[in-house]
């Protein structure tokens, strides 16, 4: 039954890559990037997500907030199928990109992850050189063949990640020799080097000092011109500062999803208001 639905929707929705229109948030003119419908997820017997519905818009920052353990990371991992790596996970519902369900059998998770990159909570550069960290994935995906193209791509990615000036003289030192904030920007450079559509960030600044945090927040603001960013954050101010849309998760459900201004000035639900004002969480 599911696959029939998939067929039908695939023909009714057309790819943004082919230039044809996709669903828009008509009020503000934002195009849809990822549409999630009735998404539920179980770790064994434990249900971590309950009927999540959300439309994520292109070239915007969407922040996921909520008390810890409410399923933010789990949800984020649904978008690039990183949950596949966890045993005993069962997923129901649809996560659509370009009208295709990312969980459908025909979907290649490698192809999906090329289009949906990820940055983790703890910076995890490969224990290789700074250059290799960035060049590895594009080379693997055959995005560059000539050495010059590769050098150029590495420079561009590092520039976009705001790291180039700091590392241009030591590209062949190990990525792990950088400071925490630099490492995280290296991970961002690594993610954007394959030109994804979406970048997922799971509490990207929670392991960083305030200055590095501010740098990354500025960076997110710049990157959203090119990429759709979905970020998890524990920090209300951060969400308010960087996000265009904010989703409030609680016990595996989205309680409220709104544009950030409304969410923080005039939340529609009592729970979200309590959380935002620090009454729980």
């Amino acid at each position: 039954m599911n696959s029939q639905v998939a067929e039908r929707e695939m023909t009714s929705m057309t790819s943004q890559r082919t230039g044809q229109p996709v669903t828009r948030n008509e009020q503000v003119g934002h195009d849809l990037s990822v549409r999630v419908r009735d998404l539920s997820l179980w770790y064994g017997e434990h249900q971590a997500l309950h009927n999540v519905n959300i439309d994520i818009y292109q070239k915007n920052v969407t922040a996921l907030i909520g008390p810890s353990g409410c399923g933010k990371s789990t949800f984020l991992r649904c978008l690039n199928r990183m949950n596949d790596l966890i045993r005993n996970v069962r997923i129901q519902g649809r996560v659509e990109m370009d009208g295709r369900d990312v969980n459908e059998p025909k979907m290649d998770e490698v192809a999906l992850r090329r289009r949906v990159g990820m940055v983790f909570q703890k910076p995890n550069p490969f224990p290789k050189s700074i250059f290799e960290n960035v060049a590895y994935a594009p080379r693997m995906h055959d995005l560059v063949s000539r050495k010059a193209d590769q050098d150029e791509l590495v420079e561009r990615s590092l520039r976009d990640a705001g790291l180039w000036e700091e590392v241009k003289d030591k590209l062949h030192q190990p990525g792990t020799s950088l400071s925490g904030g630099q490492q995280q920007r290296l991970c961002i450079a690594r993610a954007i080097a394959v030109q994804p559509d979406v970048i997922l960030m799971d509490e990207p600044t929670s392991a960083l000092d305030p200055i590095s945090t501010a740098t990354i927040e500025d960076l997110m603001d710049k990157l959203k011109k090119q990429f759709t960013i979905v970020t998890v954050t524990h920090n209300m101010q951060q969400a308010a500062r960087v996000a265009d849309y904010t989703a409030f998760f609680h016990l595996g459900e989205i309680i409220e999803y709104n544009d950030t201004k409304t969410m923080f000035s005039n939340p529609h639900t009592k729970k979200a208001e309590d959380y935002i004002t620090g009454r729980f969480g």
Partner: protein
């Protein structure tokens, strides 16, 4: 109610006493262990070092026609009783190989027989008092002397102790280990990679895992029986050959390599795998490009230790016929061969006194190699140790 420092100290006293006692007991255990080690090494060195020296005698070799059939004829009869028979037996061949030699004489240093050697080393021997006096005289004259025993390293086994060496066994060990490594390393590493990185976590893989762990604890002689049944009787691999020995030891080494490789793979932090998956690596790319390079030192360390274990193994090789009298270096993997520990075992069974030092000498060489291998393993581990 709060307590003063003195009250608390009084309570703590007993605890401190206990921990002090425990500390002394463990240090005493360590001391005893070290003592055993020192005694063992001292004994081995004491017995084995003489094997690296051998008595040589200076003789006039007269390559006459009689010597072409009976080597003894080339030597002064008085001195011939001191010379190793192994040298006498070489003379006819030397004349046959080099026609110019006939009719010439030559002064050279040759091996004495083991009786002379043992006498000079102060061990029990069967020489008469006259013979001893004659030897003493020649020692005075500098015609009999102890020299570094190259024969021990350049020759295979011999029934004549002065001629017996470890060369054939050393080559046999190298060939056997090559087979063991060639078989157990790739199979072990691939198995571990499969189990650790690819296999689903189900009853079947759990059963395999338990069995592999048990395999490492099986008495090694059983692997010999298995090797006999499977490789020799079923597949018809030649008995006593480095091939069958290597295969048998590979069975034994396999679980060690699998277990250590899995440990090495597991020590690679998951965040690396996550990062690699997130940029779109396939499972194999994650393993090949990211996990394996980091796990390699650990894998090498485990493999070296597994190999060192196999190298010291004798029991399974007895069963597949590698404990044998092998005078010549084997030229191929299917010819009869022996290995160092088996050679030591063979010598240990020889009744002649001169073989005692050969036995200990062989053990010293084996120990030196094993210590070298283990040191390499430790160094590898130290050098590439990483903190995450």
């Amino acid at each position: 109610m709060s307590h003063s420092f003195d009250e608390i100290s009084a309570q703590l006293k007993r605890r401190h006493r206990k921990s002090a006692r425990l500390k002394w007991m463990s240090m005493a255990s360590l001391g005893i262990a070290l003592l055993f080690l020192v005694v063992f090494f001292a004994d081995m060195l004491n017995k084995g070092l003489p094997a690296f020296q051998q008595a040589y005698v200076q003789v006039e070799v007269d390559y006459n026609e009689d010597a072409e059939t009976m080597g003894r004829a080339a030597l002064d009869p008085e001195i011939a009783s001191l010379v190793s028979r192994s040298f006498e037996r070489l003379i006819p061949g030397m004349i046959r190989d080099d026609a110019d030699l006939l009719g010439t004489t030559e002064t050279r240093w040759v091996l004495t027989n083991s009786q002379v050697d043992q006498y000079l080393k102060g061990h029990r021997n069967e020489l008469s008092d006259d013979e001893k006096a004659a030897i003493d005289e020649r020692v005075e004259d500098g015609q009999v002397d102890m020299k570094f025993n190259t024969t021990f390293f350049s020759q295979g086994d011999s029934k004549m102790a002065e001629r017996a060496g470890i060369m054939a066994a050393a080559v046999g060990t190298i060939m056997t280990m090559l087979v063991t490594l060639a078989v157990s390393f790739p199979i072990g590493v691939m198995t571990a990679i499969y189990l650790e990185e690819f296999a689903p976590d189900n009853r079947f893989t759990q059963a395999i895992e338990i069995n592999i762990n048990n395999l490492a604890a099986i008495p090694s002689i059983l692997f010999g029986l298995l090797g006999l049944a499977v490789f020799i009787n079923f597949f018809g691999v030649p008995r006593s050959s480095p091939l069958v020995g290597g295969l048998t030891l590979a069975l034994m080494t396999l679980p060690v390599i699998i277990i250590s490789t899995r440990a090495a793979l597991r020590s690679v932090p998951d965040s690396i795998r996550q990062g690699a998956f997130a940029v779109g690596c396939s499972r194999w790319q994650v393993v090949r490009d990211h996990v394996l390079p980091l796990a390699l030192p650990g894998i090498m360390t485990g493999s070296i230790i597994g190999l060192a274990q196999a190298m010291g193994e004798t029991a399974p090789l007895i069963i597949v016929g590698m404990v044998a009298f092998i005078p010549d270096v084997s030229a191929s993997f299917t010819e009869a061969a022996t290995v160092l520990p088996a050679q030591v075992f063979t010598w240990a069974g020889e009744p002649e006194r001169a073989f005692v030092e050969k036995t200990a000498g062989g053990i010293l060489v084996l120990l030196a190699v094993l210590i070298f291998m283990n040191a390499t393993a430790v160094m590898l581990r130290k050098k590439f140790e990483r903190r995450w």
